[in-house]
Symmetry: C2
Subunit: 216 residues, 2 copies
Amino acid sequence: MNINNAERDALYKVIFSRRDVRKDFLPTPIPDDVLARILQAGHHAPSVGFMQPWDFVLVTEENTKNALKRGYDLASIESAQQFSDDKREEYQSFKLEGILEAPLGICVTCDRGRNGPVVIGRTIKPEMDLYSTVCAIQNMWLAARAENIGLGWVSIIHDDVLRDTLNIPSNIEIIAYLCLGYVSKFSDKPELEEFGWLPREDINRLIHKEKWSSKA
Amino acid sequence: MNINNAERDALYKVIFSRRDVRKDFLPTPIPDDVLARILQAGHHAPSVGFMQPWDFVLVTEENTKNALKRGYDLASIESAQQFSDDKREEYQSFKLEGILEAPLGICVTCDRGRNGPVVIGRTIKPEMDLYSTVCAIQNMWLAARAENIGLGWVSIIHDDVLRDTLNIPSNIEIIAYLCLGYVSKFSDKPELEEFGWLPREDINRLIHKEKWSSKA
């Protein structure tokens, strides 16, 4: 199946305009058919040995979100202590999650025991199943953007809070908690770039020919 | 920026027709401008705290590929021993890499020390930088497919073989070795599905409402 130039350019448009969304969420619910497409996009990610190790826990209730928000708040206080004095205030000024505002949360997990203990392609690099699940998340991220839905990955929360709140069994690995919703706008640039926290790296410094080379 | 329906459908076409390519590579070189777009797609992946921890080592020389192919061969023999007697022969019948045939290899790495020790969003979940790099790989995978280029992730090779062959420093994490090239065709389905190794999971069994539920 051939992809034409317009389709190729559409993919790049989605990739370059995708953002990690933590604010500007609207309460508009996500229609079932739209959500189904986003989940199918995740389910069609590459997976090592075709093990498809992912599950998706959909969160919509206020109580659940409140419990997770408390978990975020505690983890954020704990995180702030790790920053140097001159960086801490700026860190605390960022809004880094939209747990309560986003109409939908999705916890994405990895069942490392799925389809038996020996998996093609995981024999040498055991983390491949975790990485497969991350590929699913990136597919969902792009699918959400293509549906004009914002998605944010909340990583400042302990796995145990998600596990206890969502009843996730101990043998299931927690990879991500995602917040999804329509947005009033997508930012032109990543926020941490816009606010001058860090610049975009020059890609030419990240490319090496044939062997690793130390760069200027 | 709004994504219209045609653009959305183009994204889904790319996602659903993307394959892990191990055969059918053509020797046609990848033009520089096409490769530049694929790498830019990776570079515009989400990254925790905007740390952009990735590097890309481009492999085109015969000698380098031969050394990596020897590493794959040894790792594949080691892997075969892990399968039960009834599965081993089928495992050995699969072609799982295209290191020599693909005109381009890309080793994608993660510099966990980039931009200092404390990273926004990595304070609680330290693996977030590895996961960011995997998001970059999935962007590249889709970009390659949109350029009608096949990409395969070779995971049956020890990191040390890649490290020694490509001179990658010990403080840099190796995430993936990717093979890229134009192909004679893209398969309709993942090979392991086509060959009956495993079926596609029913997505409805992977979706949980509000809390984890055990499924039939």
